[in-house]
Homo-oligomer: 619 residues x 2
């Protein structure tokens, strides 16, 4: 089999274990870049002379830079989050790949701007390549798909809804400019064409030379006034970027419908169907449905296969919608399902492969058929958000969007790209095909470096993410098996919120015998405050976590099931409508090691004991 | 006086002249960061062992990283643009500040995400500080203003129009939720309240506890359907992000009006007035007017003071609009007008100060009253885009937006910020107040470092940008004074498009006696192709430039004036509607040196001779 990556050789390490290597590379890139400058027209004389470099004001300016850097360094040391350490189990971040960091640092010195090819002859090509790699990872045909880097998942989500919105308005626009093309379709049918069909029609408009006129008649030209493009459906567990998206895009927040989630925090497909039926009944179009692959708060994976099945059923009935997957967090986990030749693995082979290659222990029992089927169904979506700066282990800022059918670019492009029929003037003029303008080529280079060193399958990313899931499951099972913590004469139990779909574990502590949700919330809030920036700089902390509040406003009745497990008295949930939980995104790959894990689990328990004791004494 | 910065000590240099210093700092930051990791819980054992580090698969993985970095380095060397050299006079970029690069590289290792304070306790504060500094640079009261980093000017422009759009819908929303507040205002008056008045009303809604309900009734909640918020007016010279903005925001491209520019490529204020009068006549609101400070193609500075005056006159007549300045390119040039204590200089003192401090030569005669008044009037605008990664000499990606009145944040915020009345849960939760979500804290740190070393007044940025304007004016005057270039028996003249408002110089070559615009366009296109990536990697090029085509479609009849200067025959402009010009953004600070400038001017003329000769022989 192909060489699997050694995960411990990928990161600088919690104790800077790979310092020598990293520094060697850093010096290489600096020297290499400096030589590049010197060798450009070697006959050009230096502009800054040795004599000037010894002058007082020259030295003073250098000293200002030195002092500013030292001040910044001190500031960062005191206040930064030590994500590199397994003691940090908070937000969706951990150490980043040395390859990505070095790629970013080297490219920063060349400072390319991927907005226009002319500003980035080297890195625009890398971004196009990375886009194809991500499309392939998502199961798309890289020859037909399209993908690019964004500044983050939020912007990628905006772009997807921008695509969906403009696309939805194309059929009606065609009726205005080329009525013959859609003569047999009534208003409702025009609003319910599948994405592929709309793009086929748009292509015919292009052949007929009326593409720009069609775009002018679409929402792009006409605006949202007088348009009723329908509703956007997202699960309750959605990221708040969706609420911002419908505002920005002029759709309006009242046209965003939150679909209830089940007790596992996955979208309730029955509820989704009920919503769509209700809309169809009133002849309200569904602009888009968004599924989430790895919710921000719970790491839940929506049952994408069921949504796809639903969409297919509706299409038979003449109802269709754009399907986007917000896999900003979880997207890279698809690498766990691709074998060393990037082929999608059969269900019965996945766990065996993971165990056989030492990616996940045999008894971890992580994979469920639902998660497998959801992952498998991803390429049925029209577009997917997937962030390199989350499970891609890339430094900020690098999100990405991939779309199944690259013809969709011209629904939003400024210059009509006609799918890269490159004209003289715009070879890969990214800024005109995407939402953003100027963008760091260094981010694309960082992702390219990472993908070069860490293959997007089980030999690379699958291994890193597998280790992190292994760690999450160890933590999850330890929480279940944990004995109550004794503090004085009190005992405190801990329960996980739900079985993790990937590597986020939510949990809450509770004093045995206590029936008050107020008290329980206060307990967990107090633990959080002691294990976060709330108690001051965290550099001295033993354990750092994040938290979330699951509220009725956002989640309906779902969190009540969790509350009930603790024997909270009737009425408390109804009254408070919020349960406070601790949230650990286990991105660290180091918990796959038995010794390391055991050490950190003991550390966790001791930290919790200390935190709870302190509450007791301060109360 | 306070210590002025030594510009030559700020950059790595065209020949890596400051290599020793930069490398020393790079090693410092690496060691400092590595120690930070090691010192966090010194008793935690290393996870990666020395033994493992000698294993074959570990070494193989390191080697993969090394090889990928070498491949990337080679790729960058061959294809990147050598902006560091004064031979590069193309796009809006040159060498970047060492302070900024070092700040970025150091902070990248800490990988903060400024979306949420919890992910960036160090760098969120730096971003807030930088926002205040930029607000102050723009002449705003930093205590009342608000600013933050964006991924670029494009996104900053979107955010400004998002603010303007939502704001415009607030008065009507108030009529729905708190009719008493606006009882005496009719529909037209509601659509014509000045920004400050709308924010006062919104504040009263907040006190009355109906702020969220008001937001729900605004376009944020209701969407753009059924709304008529009016037109957006931008000069013809605008950046294409404005065309994208009205699409994205659901305003529609047909509601974007292009105001003609004068022969100096500044917005024609008479034409602007004519447009507004026409709109007022048909009771169409003006959603926003955008002025440009430093157009992308010509570096033109719109007469902001005249637009402000016009707005004030209209307000007397009950007509108002949001005013945004797109100073993405030119914004930092305002530093030329602030004395060493950041006080805005009187007109009669500016040139004297510049000459006295050696920022601009006495006979450069750059500053015009129009540019001065435009700069002075900037703080009268509601918001301003200003990009650190342009005239801030910061690496990509760092744009910024500043707004005059921070109360405006809550018109778009997700969590109502109530202007930083910080609640427990959202201390500076940037992601909920701005358009973007995840964002690199490293970008904020880079800008912070730059501002720390280079003051935002004539002792710092004023000096660098002054040098660059000095260079642009030398180039401009050399073009005017240039003798025709002889190639064989032909002679070629060169003329600049217009007197530069800042530091962009457009110009075109023309064969003496030739009356064909086709021929002239081909000549300049061919020169461009030889002096750009079009002729292959530019590492061997003598001179690199960019180009632009001034078309009738975008600029109306304005470019014809330039065409006429060459004696082009009647009818050619009418037929072609496009003139091809070379465009040099002179950001390099090194042309202030007589010897350097002369050398590069000679180099330019020789490069042009060679380029034109080659055309002759290949034709």
């Amino acid at each position: 089999m192909k060489k699997k990556v050694n995960v411990n050789a990928l990161f600088l390490g919690p104790k800077s274990e790979n310092y020598t290597f990293f520094k060697e590379m850093l010096n290489f890139l600096m020297d290499d870049h400096a030589a590049w400058r010197q060798d450009f027209h070697p006959d050009d004389a230096p502009i800054v002379t040795g004599k000037e470099q010894t002058q007082q004001d020259f030295l003073t300016t250098l000293q200002k830079t030195r002092e500013a850097l030292i001040e910044l360094a001190g500031n960062l040391q005191i206040k930064s989050m030590p994500w590199f350490s397994p003691r940090y189990q908070g937000h969706m971040t951990t150490d980043t790949l040395m390859a990505a960091n070095l790629g970013y640092m080297l490219t920063l010195l060349y400072n390319p701007n991927n907005c226009a090819y002319e500003g980035s002859p080297a890195t625009t090509a890398l971004e196009i390549e990375v886009g194809r790699q991500l499309a392939k990872l998502m199961g798309y045909d890289p020859q037909k798909a399209w993908g690019h880097i964004t500044s983050g998942g939020t912007v990628a989500n905006y772009e997807s809804l921008w695509l969906a919105r403009n696309l939805k308005s194309i059929p009606s626009a065609l009726r205005a400019v080329m009525p013959g093309l859609v003569a047999d379709l009534d208003e409702w049918q025009l609003m319910n064409l599948p994405t592929g069909k709309i793009l086929d029609l748009a292509e015919r408009a292009q052949c007929a030379g009326i593409f720009d006129e069609m775009r002018r008649q679409s929402v792009r030209g006409k605006g949202m006034a007088k348009q009723n493009l329908g509703k956007v459906l997202v699960p309750q567990s959605k990221h708040y970027s969706w609420t911002k998206a419908v505002d920005i895009l002029g759709i309006g927040q009242e046209n965003l419908i939150f679909v209830p989630v089940k007790d596992n925090y996955r979208m309730d497909i029955t509820a989704l169907k009920r919503e769509i039926d209700r809309l169809v009944e009133t002849r309200t179009p569904v602009l888009a449905v968004v599924a989430v692959f790895g919710t921000t708060e719970e790491g839940a994976v929506d049952e994408i296969h069921e949504i796809v099945r639903l969409r297919d059923c509706y299409e038979v009935q003449g109802v269709s919608f754009y399907l986007h997957i917000d896999a900003a967090y979880g997207g890279y986990a698809r690498a766990l399902f691709l074998d060393e030749d990037d082929r999608f693995l059969d269900y019965n082979k996945v766990s065996r492969q993971h165990a056989g290659q030492g990616i996940l222990h045999h008894d971890t029992d992580w994979l469920t058929p639902e998660v497998y089927e959801a992952v498998k169904a991803m390429p049925e979506a029209d577009s997917i958000t997937v962030d390199p700066h989350k499970l891609g282990y890339i430094p900020y800022a690098a999100g990405a969007i991939v779309t199944r059918d690259r013809r969709i670019i011209d629904i939003i492009s400024y210059f009509a790209a006609y799918v890269f029929e490159k004209t003289d003037d715009n070879p890969m003029l990214l800024g005109s095909y995407i939402m953003e303008g100027s963008k760091a080529g260094a981010a694309a280079a960082a992702v390219w470096m990472a993908h070069k060193v860490v293959p997007l399958n089980i030999t690379g990313y699958g291994r890193i993410i597998g280790y992190s899931i292994e760690g999450a499951y160890r933590f999850y099972r330890s929480l279940i098996a944990a004995h109550p913590i004794r503090v004085g004469d009190k005992q405190f139990e801990v329960l996980p919120l739900t079985r993790p779909d990937i590597n986020i574990v939510d949990y809450a502590f509770h004093e045995l015998g206590n029936g008050s949700l107020d008290d329980m919330n206060r307990l967990n809030q107090s633990i959080y405050e002691q294990c976060s920036y709330k108690s001051g700089p965290v550099y001295g902390s033993d354990f750092i976590t994040s938290k979330t509040a699951l509220t009725r406003e956002e989640y309906g009745a779902t969190p009540q099931l969790f509350v009930k497990k603790f024997g909270i008295k009737e009425g408390d949930w109804e009254r408070l409508g919020s349960v406070y939980v601790l949230r650990s995104c286990i991105l660290t790959p180091y918990f796959t090691n038995n010794t390391t894990y055991e050490e950190y689990w003991q550390n966790f328990i001791k930290a919790m004991e200390r935190a709870i004791s302190r509450i007791g004494t301060s109360a």
